[in-house]
Symmetry: C2
DNA sequence: GCAAGAATGTTGTCATTGACAACAATTGGG
DNA sequence: CCCAATTGTTGTCAATGACAACATTCTTGC
């Protein structure tokens, strides 16, 4: 499908000011996504020494805050699929950061815990995450960051 | 790696109030991502009749607002890779919504235009997008939507 | 003018993510 | 006790972002 015909003359090689984004200006989703991508990029960069990605980080924090809970509970809390969480946990378990134990109440489910290694790693990870959050504040301004956080927190 | 041992008793089958998210509470990226996912989900659902996804929609709007510009210019405006844009355009061209013409100034580049069909389709698409934006406002509140938009717009 | 380097569009490959379906094992309700 | 639901798992698919390579075509320095 290489339908390339001779072009008209209204091409506007014009000024270098950059193009407009048209009615995208009125779409919250567009700006939401752009900032979210920036934030995740910075997170991944900053956390590179620990090779931790946002999804893994969120799983570690939620396990830490809710020790012994099942995969289904964690998955629901983070709104990720059980299937996806299972695969994330395989990686974290291979790195010896978490452990699954058979639940005493329900033979189907696994209770999730941080290992000693996991807690040590998480301490370092949190330190880098803090640094990331500082960089974010520097980028958008501490004040704006707090405003955004307040506005967004109301939809867990 | 199925290291499942007998579990301790601190499992807390406890109340059904849902789990906490721990220190995730202080991460803007987490909430940013959650709302962004909600928005895109609703967009995709609402635009399903036209089978248009957010990325395609943004390309159509930027072409509309900058007729005759090159792929590189569009890609830079939307911060997507030239490679990705090329593949997006293949789809849009196959649907007869856009056309590429050889640039008069630069034999390497293609000038991008909406076709008649593309403009007609875009009219319908915009109508659905408007509906989506209304649903978003209903979800987070018109006031909050505007506040978020104002805060986010400052980082193109 | 010309050679070297940059830009443009394209294709290929890879990793991450989300979505859906199917499955075995287990639980719980009627 | 049987049947539906739950739990964790695996497989597959589509969308997205990233990176590399390539042929063609400017553009710049000399």
């Amino acid at each position: 499908m290489r339908t390339v015909v001779k072009a008209a003359l209204d091409e506007w090689p014009g000024p270098k000011e950059g193009l407009g984004i048209g009615q995208l200006e009125n779409h919250l989703g567009y700006f939401l996504r752009r900032l979210q991508i920036w934030v995740f990029q910075d997170f991944i960069q900053t956390l590179r020494p620990m090779k931790v990605r946002p999804a893994q980080y969120s799983v570690l924090l939620v396990i830490e805050a809710n020790r012994g809970r099942s995969q289904a509970a964690i998955a629901q809390t983070l709104s990720i699929e059980r299937a996806r969480l299972a695969r994330l946990l395989h990686v974290l378990e291979r790195r010896r950061w978490i452990s699954r134990r058979a639940s005493a109440n329900d033979a189907r489910s696994h209770s999730l815990y941080l290992t000693k290694d996991g807690e040590k790693a998480l301490a370092q990870i949190k330190s880098l995450a803090k640094q990331h959050e500082a960089q974010l504040a520097a980028f958008i301004g501490q004040r704006r960051r707090q405003q955004l956080l307040d506005l967004l927190r109301e939809f867990g």
